[in-house]
């Protein structure tokens, strides 16, 4: 007995690492779900952090529960970090799957392709049809069937300190080179003599911000040639963008070496403490800016510039899709809830509460006519997404692109590392 327990203990230690790995992946199954509307169900909805305002959440819950007496709808808020592995395991079993899920648009192609989501093609017209954001419909479709509907979109704009620009006699930059020059002048000027001052707050870890440089120069993260994907960071266009970025990180920004993803996702913090002259953020970050700065009229915003100054630049197309898990036991009711999500009140909440451009563009007018909304809509219109490749989510979770831009922020070799990253992307994107 004694000996057995000792052996058991040793076995436990050794096998735990392996066992823990697998305990999370349950048996896959895709059948036995109900499309009926009469059986009450407890719907579970996964929304991502900062996506859906409290008001909109409360509205959805109440509307749904009023309409379907006996059923409930619970919203569980999820963190972006690590969501892909979480979805992979949760969606795979009818016991653990949420019924409705929000998917980052960059992750949507992967989940559409592997059969994790219910086919929504039949209700596409009802959800908005031709008014649905086209790029998001593309990312949410596989083999001409729509599995994930456009939820909302958003793109970054540049926020700046008007008073600092004025003091140093600077104008709003029209080209990317001018942006670097302006950032450099603010940084050397350091009007408030702040010890941690950076001309522009642009952390290396925020690769999605850096995409604007790549896309505006005509570069792409990966391109499809004759049915095969190829990493695109080594292309002359991307390399030009990286040279511009590293120039900025050398003279106009001290924040390239920031590697903490939490700090990266809150670019307004440094701006609020007077430690940055500019930051690259979303329109709804305006609400996070210190009131004193706003009230004193010190905050302005402009679109990301283009290389030649003849147009608006091309920032990354942020946004989400919304889908129903194929393993959901209440797909019928989930579809009803999805209809509520695409109804006018809920869609308008995106614009009025969150500052996102709603998935159904018919309701985008709710964003308003002010300067901020105009700049935002312009940014979204010119935005470019990540490749609509089935395996893109795997590139993301392998952190190929993130690691690359962190290295660029630390001013490491752009040519060699781009080659390595491209090879890795090519391998992942073309694997079955």
């Amino acid at each position: 007995m004694k000996e057995l327990s000792r052996r058991g203990l040793l076995g436990l230690g050794g096998a735990l690492g392996a066992a823990a790995l697998l305990s999370a992946c349950g048996e896959a199954s895709g059948s036995a779900s109900s499309d009926s509307l009469s059986t009450p169900a407890k719907l579970r909805v996964w929304f991502m952090k900062d996506s859906v305002s409290d008001k909109a959440q409360a509205w959805l819950k109440q509307e749904f529960e009023n309409k379907f007496q006996g059923s409930t709808l619970t919203i569980e808020q999820q963190e972006w970090d690590g969501i892909v592995p979480k979805l992979q395991t949760a969606l795979a079993s009818p016991e653990s799957t949420p019924d409705i899920i929000e998917l980052g648009n960059t992750q949507a192609p992967t989940f559409c392709a592997v059969g994790a989501l219910a086919d929504l093609s039949g209700m596409k017209e009802e959800l908005g049809g031709a008014n649905l954001t086209k790029s998001l419909v593309e990312l949410g479709s596989f083999e001409n069937k729509m599995y994930a509907a456009p939820f909302y979109a958003g793109s970054r704009i540049v926020f700046y300190r008007k008073d600092m620009f004025q003091k140093l006699g600077l104008a709003i930059p029209k080209t990317i080179d001018e942006l670097t020059a302006v950032a450099t002048k603010i940084q050397t000027g350091n009007p408030e003599k702040n010890a941690h001052f950076s001309g522009m707050f642009l952390p290396g870890i925020s690769s999605q911000s850096a995409f604007a440089w790549v896309f505006s120069n005509g570069g792409r993260l990966a391109v499809q040639k004759d049915g095969k994907w190829e990493g695109g960071l080594s292309s002359p266009e991307s390399q030009k963008a990286i040279a511009q970025l590293q120039q900025l990180w050398t003279t106009g920004s001290t924040t390239g070496t920031i590697t903490d993803s939490t700090i990266g996702s809150q670019p307004y913090t440094a701006f609020n403490t007077g430690e940055a002259g500019m930051f690259f953020g979303f329109n709804f970050h305006l609400k996070k800016i210190k009131k004193e700065l706003l009230d004193a009229g010190k905050v302005g915003y402009f679109n990301f510039p283009s290389p030649k100054g003849d147009a608006v630049g091309n920032p990354f197309a942020g946004g989400s899709n919304v889908a129903i898990s194929n393993n959901s036991k209440a797909r019928g009711l989930a579809k009803e809830a999805l209809k509520l999500i695409f109804s006018k009140p809920f869609q308008e909440f995106f614009a009025t509460e969150g500052g996102w451009v709603p998935g159904n563009l018919n309701y985008a007018a709710a964003l308003g006519q002010d300067e901020l909304s105009k700049v935002t809509i312009e940014a979204v219109r010119n935005s470019v997404g990540t490749p609509a490749a089935k395996n893109w989510a795997l590139v993301e979770s392998a952190k190929v692109v993130d690691d690359f831009f962190v290295a660029m922020g630390a001013l490491k070799d752009p040519v060699g590392l781009a080659k390595t990253a491209d090879a890795k992307m090519t391998e992942i994107l073309n694997s079955k």
Binding site: G13, G17, L21, C25, A28, Q88, K399, D403
Partner: protein, 320 residues
Amino acid sequence: MTVTSTRAKPEGTLPDRTEPAAPRKRRRNPLPYILLLPAVLIVLVDMGYPLLRQITMAFQHFSLEQQFGKPAEFVGLDNFTRVLGDSAFWLTLGRSLAFCLVCAALTMAIGIGGALLLTKLSRPVSVFVQAAMLLAWAMPVLSSLQVFQWIFDSRSGVVDWTLAGLGMQGMAGYNWFSNPLTFFAVAAILVIWMSVPLVVFMVYASVTQIDESMLEASTLDGANGWKQFREITVPTIAPVLLLVTILEIIWDLRVFTQIFILQKNGGITEQTNVLGTYVYQVGLSGGDYGVASATALIMLLITLLLTWRYVTQFLKQGEV
């Protein structure tokens, strides 16, 4: 207790008890085995099933599509050749082994030293030290991770501030997590900090069991402290030392949480992967469960190889 009472019944007569045949009878009695059954079942279901599943998956092509219902196809040793042919795996393996051995060695050294020190301390001080260690040991790993991240924060961390204050100008605002070497230094400090208390407690408990008279006698014979430690203390507590060393090696080889969380802070995932995070990245994030299972099996094999000598020795000693 139940065992002995039921055993008494069939034996009935007195003389039987002294006969050497008694052990054979004990073996025939099914009750001990029935009593063992629940524990064995739990182990089988809890660990046997996942292990079996993992072994199967290691020989299958199992990616996201299979996870969502597509039948998996057997591919022989494909997954293994892919892992073993991947240079990233070998780099990760080397990194993991180095990290594990350094951490385990330092933990043992500091732990044993601490335990011996405890025996020399006055009672109140010793109780205080033990209480502090217990707190460190009982602290949830995520909380201590958060504290360590604050301590080593590049902007407001106390370490950078102190080093800069001491005149090391380059250390002001230094990002510890963006360089693989300093990344692992911080991770090692954290891992060692969390595992030293257990070593101290176990070694201290066994050291206090050493016969005082033996030590006294050796002093009279002229043995110094180091000699006493080598000739008396170590041989006496060897079983405990072996057990703790095995556990430390296993734990440090499959370290996951600390590295995984710190990676979120560091942004250089590939250069800081250890076996645990590598398997996670290939399997759960990368959606390649087959290759991940094969990697995990290799990892299990390495753990067994590393600890084999200790395990056999330990089992031999356990029989005495």
